[in-house]
Symmetry: D3
């Protein structure tokens, strides 16, 4: 029955999201939760909406 909410930067491909959903679901299977009871919701966040170290991620030099 778990619900997983993922907050991450936008820009991931559909394939990466598919892979992530598959692996997170498997993570729950490993502790005994049936795959059909796992819901995963991904929030794509633009970097101007993400703050780190007091600044927008869109403005950090990386």
């Amino acid at each position: 029955m778990p619900v997983v909410i993922v907050e991450m930067w936008e820009g991931r491909t559909t394939e990466q999201k598919a892979k992530l959903i598959k692996s997170i679901t498997k993570a729950f299977s490993e502790i005994g939760v049936d795959a059909q009871h796992v819901s995963i919701i991904i929030h794509d966040i633009q970097q101007a909406n993400w703050g780190m170290s007091g600044k927008q991620a869109s403005k950090l030099t990386r």
Copy 2:
């Protein structure tokens, strides 16, 4: 003072959202919460961002 966050698939009409907001607020009134203290926030989620049974909802056969 309750805050309600709704995660659901995108695609609902404005009328459906209006109806949902009205009914959820009423659900709180029935247990004694004044309507003006209820905030409801709807997150429209695309099906590629929603995982069920280890797969993206956009790829499930229904």
Copy 3:
């Protein structure tokens, strides 16, 4: 498939929560969502952890 997260002050009875869950689920049925696809998660929040008008709810005169 909707997931509803409710943030509210602790102190509601089990009966009030049962009623709330029933009514919120019905709110979704009214816009065509099958009851068995609605998950509702209630977070009981103590008033010292709830800020309103810049103050803890536990310290507001009501």
Copy 4:
């Protein structure tokens, strides 16, 4: 290590978001949390997706 999720109406400028991120991070510094451990995530919500007093914010007279 705190994570802060902000739900607010869409329409804020990048400058307002930058200012908000800076000030919220400072709020944590004041209670002893190092700025680099604070993550802030802003969800821009359209007013049709925000319910207040049982109505969509987009339909309220203000």
Copy 5:
């Protein structure tokens, strides 16, 4: 930088949580996210606070 929020029934052991954290982090590594950038937050929810099919999970016959 992803933040993962897990809503699940209370009752999991520390070992199960450790395993879950390890596996979910690995799920992100597989799509190129460095493990030290993944934060996972688990909310333990009592079954009286979890609604399914219009009823509290604590009252469902399983």
Copy 6:
């Protein structure tokens, strides 16, 4: 109307929470939001429920 959800380790005093609520509310005032429209909800998370770098925060050497 903003709603702010703070996920942080349990253990902060009531005074620290009061200060945090005051300062975060002020952060919104600075961008033109009236203090009485800001709601802040703090989730106290035990370190065994917080994952960082693939491990429970309760098990990290600091």
